[in-house]
Assembly symmetry: C2
């Protein structure tokens, strides 16, 4: 266990510096970091653009300490006050309820600055830093972390040599009151289905009734993918999903989660399940399929009478452990090809998987998690919930596979922070207690090593 | 029959003036008449805009002559050279094959200018004009003829008093070699189907699998509308479609129409039928259903993982005679409501018919058609095909119903003119022979009156 006296000194220092920390976050939020573009190139929509740099850093090199790799990102989602923000999204604004409102406050500038604050607080308090740190802060996370996989794999046995475990603070508490540790993420396979018929868009009055219409084919195909209650209908897709056990159900029972808050979050009561356990399980440990839209059809307001000639329907499947993207892609391709053949259409089908990422699940019994749980108890006086998430953070799996080390997701913000939305916020208490949490976590790691 | 000597003088005059007529069309094409906006207002996307004026005119007022109302439109589809035009779309350009290329050349400035040229040729040739004319040239045809229905109904017993028949030159020959008279158009019912679920767009990773997805519901609903071979599956829709008769089939047999040319027109061989007769019948005398697209879903390039919260699917049904829009709308609404209920979704369905227009069919035995057929024989030395069209020109039915007079569609351009497309053209011969046709048609009307 970490030395209580050391932790108290650290916590007091953080408390004393909290306004200074908010100022620092304000400076970070003021940087419109969706515009940075400095190093390297990537191709987007056919154009070659410069990639923003990933920042690698090292703090400490003591052979007797563990080395923790900390990942975060300094880029943010775009934001305009016209989108509906209550104040300039790039000017951090503190409300009377002590919410720090600004783009990136929670996703992910608060956590990134939080790590730096934790280091500085040790310096100011005159406390020895308990571990060696390596940093990896990237600037393309909101654009699919382009280039990051290659970097992590390349540096695994170079810059990242000696890393004992990884900590990522880029997700959120499940709700708004209780801290959590996150040990699982769903993967994804994203599909583009192109159906081509006429050589160009046609007038539906002049040609309708005489040609096979790609839109008709697409609606028939996609109607066979998933039921209104979310069951994926593609044969074989669910074969490798692990059956639910009684034990697993019990884990879900204890998680603090309110269906009312969930209905607030989605803005309606149109959930498939009424109960907490099924809802959480279908977010986290069962696959799902969402149809996102159609490219090439009429999508504007109004009443255009076009007969679209070539369209691309897009859907994705969220994957859970044991669902290998390659196998899933083969099943989807086979199913759609067979179903398309049944239509008797003269149009042409092209099925493509754009990208795939495996699900990730970690062991909450690893010392990396144990240390984090102890730190949460120290800072928040509660035992954390152990959660998974429905979305994908592909870099998580990349770190785990390339470094062969345990990866911990240690969120700073709350479930209602509204990352990617207007009025993104980070509660002052989450920010300040989060800085304490980061430091305490590292002290607990050092203590475990010593035990 | 019209006096051959008079027609010869008229035809010679038109031939002698043809370069002058091309210059005049050039001046007309140079006017970017999709930008005019001068009189009255209408509401578009919530903004009140001025309506361009409809031009009413009278030429001649001889009680002993018939009065023909001529309709055309001076507005055009937008065009930019960047769209792929071979030359500035607003600078009429004549190719080595004597195609006059320019926006509006065929749709509908060529015909409008053609009527004025026909009058002037009579003046220059010193020939008495055979009928009284009334003109109605509008500037909103490409935007749904906003305000025209009200104008025609209002002026039916005022400005249009005494009209004996109507002639509209705003469509095309079926093919590229043989003139035609058009006696039928399909109507249309355009539907917007809105499905609402969550209060805002959601992240498919975080929420997928736990909410009823509007896109899933929409694809299931629309998959029940029409078969890949074009059969409308909504119960009752086809009940009032007149059965095919042997006699009717024979009319189609004689029509000059090439499936090869049709495949060229659509840019593929993905026609449902291989034979001419079925293809023409399904364009003209059977209903069809086309799904146009979805508003509110992801439609851009790329791979966004959105779970759309509120979407509007759009489709339209082309109507044939006896299919009353009100009855069709009721059938569609009933069917979709019932099918949606079967889905067991908690989302909300809203079915709306945006606009409806009845099909139109005229009698090719009326003296208006007989005169036009004789004129075609005089100018082109062939008997015209009698055609229908798959699209809708709602003003046709408005004139017929409001004036209770026969309406003739007398095309000037060819089937490959590419109205609404890049490189819209009017063949010089169609333009010049068309001016002759307009004059000859009026002389034949006068001759029929005298017989």
């Amino acid at each position: 266990m970490a030395d209580p006296a050391v932790l108290k000194t650290y916590f007091d220092t953080v408390d004393n510096l909290q306004d200074y920390y908010v100022e620092r976050l304000k400076e970070a939020v003021a940087i419109k970091s969706y515009e940075l573009a400095d190093l390297g190139t990537h191709v987007m929509d056919g154009k070659t653009l410069k990639l923003p740099p990933a920042i690698l850093g090292t703090y400490g090199n003591d052979q007797n300490k563990k080395t923790i790799l900390v990942y975060g990102h300094y880029d943010v989602q775009p934001a305009l006050i016209e989108d509906g923000w209550s104040s300039d999204p790039f000017e951090l604004h503190e409300t009377s309820k002590h919410q720090l409102i600004g783009r990136g406050a929670s996703d992910d500038k608060g956590p990134v600055i939080g790590w730096l604050n934790a280091i500085e607080a040790h310096q100011k308090a005159g406390i020895e830093f308990p571990v060696n740190l390596k940093f990896c802060f990237e600037g393309m996370e909101e654009c699919g972390s382009e280039g990051m996989d290659e970097l992590v794999v390349r540096e695994a046995k170079r810059y990242f040599t000696g890393v004992d475990a990884v900590c990522i603070s880029d997700n959120y508490w499940l709700g708004v009151t209780k801290p959590c540790l996150t040990y699982g993420l769903r993967g994804i396979s994203y599909f583009k289905i192109t159906i081509s018929g006429p050589g160009r868009d046609l007038h539906s009055g002049v040609f309708g009734g005489t040609v096979h219409e790609p839109m008709t084919d697409l609606f028939l195909l996609f109607s066979k993918l998933v039921s209104p209650s979310g069951d994926i209908l593609i044969p074989g897709i669910n074969d490798n999903v692990e059956p639910l056990t009684e034990e697993e159900n019990k884990i879900y029972e204890s998680i603090e989660f309110s269906m009312n808050e969930y209905h607030d979050a989605i803005g309606s009561k149109t959930t498939i399940y009424e109960d907490k356990i099924k809802t959480l399980q279908h977010r986290w440990r069962f696959p799902s399929l969402t149809i996102h839209g159609i490219e090439g059809a009429f999508s504007a307001p109004g009443t255009k009478t076009v007969l679209p000639a070539k369209i691309t329907g897009k859907f994705s499947i969220r994957l859970v452990p044991n669902m290998e993207p390659d196998r899933i892609n083969a099943l989807v391709e086979k199913f759609l090809t067979e179903e398309f053949a049944k239509l008797g259409s003269k149009n042409t089908l092209n099925v493509g998987c754009v990208h795939g990422a495996k699900a990730w699940v970690s062991s909450p019994n690893h010392w990396n998690y144990v240390a984090a749980a102890k730190a949460i108890e120290k800072v928040f006086k509660v035992h954390p919930d152990y959660t998974r998430e429905g979305g994908s953070i592909p870099i998580t799996l990349t770190f785990q596979d390339a470094l062969n080390k345990n990866v911990l997701l240690l969120p700073m913000g709350r479930g209602d922070d509204g990352a990617h939305s207007i009025n993104e916020k980070l509660d002052r208490s989450n920010y300040i207690e989060g800085i304490k949490l980061f430091g305490a976590y590292l002290h607990e790691i050092a203590a475990i090593k010593a035990e």
